[in-house]
Amino acid sequence: MIKTLKILLLFILALINAIFLWFGIYLIQNKYYELGIVILTALVLIDFFIFNPKAYPYRYTIPALIFLFLLVLYPIYFTIKTAFTNYGTGHILTREETFERLLYDPNFTYVLEEKPVRFKIFVVYKDGLPTEDFMLILKINGKLYISGIPIPTKRRGREILLRESKLVLIDSSKIKIDGKIVEIYPWTSSLENIEMISTLDKTYKPLYMLDNPELEKNSYFFSLLMQKYLIQSEFLKPEDETTYGFKIDKDGRWKVFPIDRLYRLTYIGNKLSILNTKTNKPLIEEKGSFYDIDEQGNKNFIIGYTDFVGFENFTRILTDERISGPFFRIFLWTILWSLFTVLFSFSIGLSFALILNNKKLKGRNLYRTILIIPWAVPYFISVLTWRNGIFNETYGILNKIILPSLGLNTIKWFNDPFWAKVTCLIVNIWLTFPYMMTVSLGALQGIPEELYEVSAIDGAGKWNRFWKITFPLLLAVVAPLLISSFAYTFNNFTLIFLLTAGGPPIVGATTPAGHTDILISYVYKLAFYGRGQEFGFASAISILIFFLVAGISFLNFKLSGAFEEVRGE
């Protein structure tokens, strides 16, 4: 029994080894060094834990470590790394990848001669519908050339960058392409008249041809083929080495032109770079971007790659006024927002706790349970309810029913910066006061009765008793909770995102910043919204948040003595 189990476990281990090894190496081969290293390190650790008897206790933690490495440590590493790069819209690829694109992507080709070549596409039909199995006949200088489906020659992951195919001259009714015999019917030099192409097992019938009213109806199917195959295809005529490809003509239709590559590799000094073959000037490389100089001498952005920019993202926060303005505003609001939330929700929660702490109060458990409900309801539901049903400026019951019935003017809950902030605070206080109430109630119950009795003998009044005994003792217990609550509110992204989405926007900011944005929602907007995705900048702010919260949490641990708890054992 134990033996079979052991064999089974060993087998699983072997499997994990194989998978991790393959994946790690594969990643490194594909230049994802960090993730590859993370995986290989995890693998080494796993093997070490299992084969070293001294490391026995660590065996238990293996699965946890795998998730920890992948989902916590790697993301932290990634965030730190990204903060020092310009990763974002236009700078997603690596430098090597941009080279590949520039050299092989058919987008970076130019038309040699503005003389389109006639073409006709034939496909195999199945059940009356065209399939993707096609052949292409071109008429170049009065001669007919045929091509099958171009073969992918450059890939990036699962994406195909380039397909290539050699054109075959049709010099008899039967010709050979890719080792297969193909028969053209009828064999004529007129492209219009060719009705059918047949191989041993398939027949191709016309699908599309420009200026042929009958076939132009199929432009939908043609556009499908275009998207899937023809856009990235190049056709090579072997006789004179000219390349043909599909380009959009001035009239907006896809046509076949003789084309040539726009860029080729060159060396500038020792460094590999790119040369524009049309203008014969090398591309300018700056801050992870390639620029082309056109005939007029204008600098045009071509493509960008992820590059290290050092501390630029951090200095931008301070130096770029259009960024630092909103940044410090957001920072201030984040602090105020956390502070007010904790302050108000604690006062309200404590008031309720004081009311419910009366042992003579009948049904206090029921009251407590009822008052906990705002905390118990999934918070996104509450937030959406507040936003949609209550504060909505047009339909919300506050503006539509309650305020008018009190004879008050309606309030722009989301479009007025001040009221938007008030809205955020109201909702968050509503959400958090039950927590404060619960912990205060717990702390109150921990205060010994004798203290009150003694103080009563000394003649202390109610007020005095609260401020001199209850409050200090309570605060000693609750303070760490208030701090962690502060830290939590500091990063309460969901609430802000769902309630106001940061709005109303700050006028004049270059980044998508809003009046109620807190740092973390600002990060989110930088990364995923706005004109472009600025992952680098967003990561830099993430790191700042990281340190702020870590500081608060560490302080909190110190304060509550959580470290001592473990050490004391």
Binding site: I2, Y26, L35, P57, Y60, T61, P63, A64, F67, V72, P75, I76, F78, T79, T82, G128, N358, K360, Y367, L371, I372, I373, P374, A376, V377, P378, Y379, F380, I381, L384, T385, W386, N388, G389, Y395, K400, I401, Y435, T438, V439, G442, L481, S484, N491, F493, T494, F497, I520, V523, Y524, A527, F528, A538, S539, V549, F557, G561, A562, V566, R567
Partner: protein, 719 residues
């Protein structure tokens, strides 16, 4: 003791006041989710018109008319997934759909008939009550008018003149009215009576049918005398004289029997005429007097200067406005008094109500609130239902006409389709793309005619019926109103195009993701926590704390990293990529430290001795772990599973950046979409969906609050 009792009593009162306020959003969710009306457009917090339709739409969305027709069209065109179905299956579904459409048509007709029945019942009832309605409301209004008259602002001299002018206008009007009456009498004489007299003359000449009332000639003679006073009537009096003459000639004192009636009528008319003429004279006198007075006042005013006039300006307009109001309403009351037609009565009352409400808002705007306006408000409130009922009547009639039209057309299109679908399907199966034109027409009928002609009227009728239930003073009609509302609501449900949603998918996705994430996390953590509780090794002391510290960093910071990681993984391992539920589950597995901490705490409470004795018996460390510790730790593991489940279920950020396809959404994002875009005002759907998700989660939370609270505080509080 007594004081304490009173204080706790006050505490209870305070809590019972504050709790509904605090829980208001929750109360709102519950009450809105069962509202039948469009809560987002209603001006009331709560409604008495209830339904479970929102829940039905979410949980078991029915294939209603538009859906059925589109499905049929798809079946005929054999668009995917139907292109892979075989013929019998398609035929079966087509037949089923046709049956359903037929059933729906019948149901709509039945319901329409029911609503019509109720509608008629209300009408008949109100016609019966016509007199009462008239009397009661007119009495109310007259009371109001008297009240206003009494409270009219004090008039100055300027005013008196105004009043005189008003009065003289009134008299003038009455004057013309009486004149009209007199004219009418003249006309009756000259036309009706004279023609009858002609007939009598002819008969007397022919000696036919003489009656035996001997004293009539005398009566006639009197009449002739009276008529002679009015020169305009000499035509009639001459004729009567002729009759007398003829009678004398014939020496026969007998007269036609119906001449008696005629004589009575003539004498009545003459009486009437005389009365009116005397009133006319009286009015003439009064008018002259008033004019004289006004002239005098005007003179005085010219002498007295402008001051007084300005002082009285406001009063004047206030007085004026009230006066015109009285006048207008008086007029309308007159119309109502003379009318016997229910519709006119209702429309006039509703016009009065409209006039009053308009007056109230103007009045308050100009002069502020006072007792006059509140009295008017009170009366107007009682008249509110006329307006509502009037709209109901109007819209119901339009609705009724239009829906009958739709029935007729639907029947035609359906029978067309039934007769030709087989041949269409045959061509479709041969590979041609076919659509049924009758289905197209049918669909357009719903999309255009129903939406534009029926639905708006139907909704108004439905709403008015609901409002009337609160307003109408005849509560015995509420049953019928409710029925109209109910039947029309159901008709709308059958015909209206509903937005497609994937609520059940979302809930299923959430349960799957949260369930798997919870189970896997718990297994991993329960294993990993064990050495921290039982063994000595490097990193034990700070291990979990460090992990806790790391995990205290907001996961939102990792968004970009996680997004890129999944993007990368997806290229090589498709099921872990973006926009996959498995990828999302994978991401949720990162929350480990906190659960490890809780489980470790529980392991610490399990005594070592059990394991030690097992190890003496030859069990390995791992065996003692899963045979002794795990079974003992079952309760805490259950708690961790549930807590993790809840956390993942409530998670929003990662789900929102990873999932893109609406079908793959989790409940949290799904609910979010229910509160934006086209759903912004679909409060019924939103609140019902919210309640469905909220209820189990809240109950779980409340039942586990002990663990949640202690878990949360443990991170910070010692012990």
């Amino acid at each position: 003791m007594v004081g304490e009792g009173r204080r706790s009593y006050l505490t209870h009162i305070f809590l019972w006041i504050i709790i509904p306020l605090i829980l208001f959003p929750i109360i709102w969710i519950v009450s809105t989710s069962i509202r039948r009306d469009q809560a987002a457009f209603s001006t009331r917090l709560f409604s008495s018109r209830l339904t479970l339709q929102n829940y039905i739409d979410l949980l078991t969305p029915e294939k209603n008319m538009p859906v059925l027709i589109q499905e049929l069209q798809n079946l005929i065109s054999r668009t995917p997934p139907y292109n892979e179905w075989d013929l019998p299956k398609i035929e079966k579904l087509i037949n089923e759909d046709i049956d359903s459409i037929d059933k729906y048509l019948k149901e709509t007709q039945d319901r329409y008939r029911n609503s019509k029945e109720s509608f008629n019942k209300i009408n008949i009832y109100l016609i019966q009550k016509k007199g009462e309605i008239k009397d009661k409301n007119i009495k109310n209004l007259e009371n109001l008018l008297n009240f206003i008259n009494k409270k009219l602002p004090k008039e100055g001299s300027y005013f008196r003149k105004e009043k005189n002018i008003n009065e003289s206008n009134l008299i003038k009007r009455e004057y013309t009215f009486i004149q009209d009456k007199i004219l009418n009498i003249y006309i009756t004489f000259n036309k009706e009576i004279s023609s009858e007299l002609d007939k009598i003359l002819k008969d007397i000449k022919g000696n036919i049918n003489l009656a035996s009332f001997s004293d009539y000639p005398k009566n006639i003679k009197n009449l002739v005398d009276k008529l002679d006073k009015y020169p305009d009537l000499h035509y009639v009096s001459n004729k009567l004289r002729n009759i007398l003459k003829l009678m004398d000639q014939k020496k026969d004192k007998r007269i036609f029997y119906d001449t008696e009636k005629l004589c009575l009528k003539i004498s009545y008319l003459i009486e009437e005429l005389e009365k009116n003429i005397s009133i006319l004279k009286e009015k003439e006198n009064k008018l002259a007097l008033l004019n004289q007075k006004n002239e005098f006042l005007e003179m005085q005013e010219i002498l007295g200067g402008q001051e007084q006039k300005e002082e009285l300006e406001e009063h004047k307009t206030k007085y004026d406005e009230l006066k015109t109001l009285i006048k207008d309403i008086d007029e309308k009351i007159n119309i109502i008094n003379t009318s016997d037609n229910l519709e006119t009565i209702i429309s006039e009352f509703s016009a009065i109500e409209e006039r009053l409400t308009e007056f109230i808002s103007d009045y308050i705007f100009n002069y502020g609130r006072d007792e006059i306006v509140s009295k008017i408000e009170e009366v107007a409130g009682k008249l509110r239902w006329f307006q509502e009922y009037n709209t109901l009547l109007e819209k119901y009639n339009i609705f009724s006409k239009n829906i009958e039209d739709i029935f007729e057309k639907s029947r035609i299109y359906l029978s067309e389709f039934i007769s030709n679908w087989r041949s269409l399907l045959e061509t479709s199966i041969k590979g041609e793309f076919v659509t049924s034109s009758s289905l197209d027409n049918f669909y357009n009928l719903i999309k255009m005619d129903y939406v534009n002609l029926v639905a708006p009227n139907l909704n108004v009728v439905s709403k008015k019926a609901g409002d009337l239930m609160d307003l109408i003073p005849y509560k015995e009609m509420n049953g019928n109103l409710d029925r109209i509302d109910g039947e029309l609501f159901r008709i709308d449900q059958i015909w209206k195009q509903k937005t497609k949603h994937y609520f059940l998918n979302w809930v299923r996705n959430s349960i799957l993701v949260a369930g798997f994430a919870a189970i896997i996390t718990t297994i991993v953590c329960s294993v990993a926590a064990y050495p921290f509780s039982r063994m000595r090794f490097w990193g034990r002391r700070y291990g979990i704390m460090t992990l806790l510290l790391i995990q205290m960093f907001p996961s939102a910071v990792y968004m970009i990293a996680i997004y890129s990681l999944l993007n990368l993984l997806g290229r090589f391992v498709p099921f872990l990529g973006l926009d996959t539920l498995t990828g999302l589950t994978f991401v949720y597995l990162g929350g480990i430290a906190y659960n490890m901490y809780i489980i470790k705490g529980f392991y610490d409470t399990i005594p070592d001795s059990l394991e030690e004795s097992a190890m003496i018996d030859g069990a390995t460390r791992f065996q003692t772990f899963y045979k002794i510790v795990i079974p003992l730790a079952r309760p805490i593991l259950a708690v961790v599973i549930i807590l993790t489940f809840m956390n993942v279920f409530n998670e929003f950020i990662f789900a929102s950046i990873i999932l893109q396809d609406a079908k793959k959404y989790t409940y949290a994002i799904g609910l979010w979409t229910f509160s934006t875009g086209p759903y912004l005002t679909e409060w019924g759907l939103f609140t019902a969906a919210a309640l469905l998700g909220m209820l189990p989660m809240t109950i779980l939370f409340l039942s586990l609050q002990k663990y949640i609270v202690s878990g949360l505080t443990k991170g910070a509080v010692k012990g």
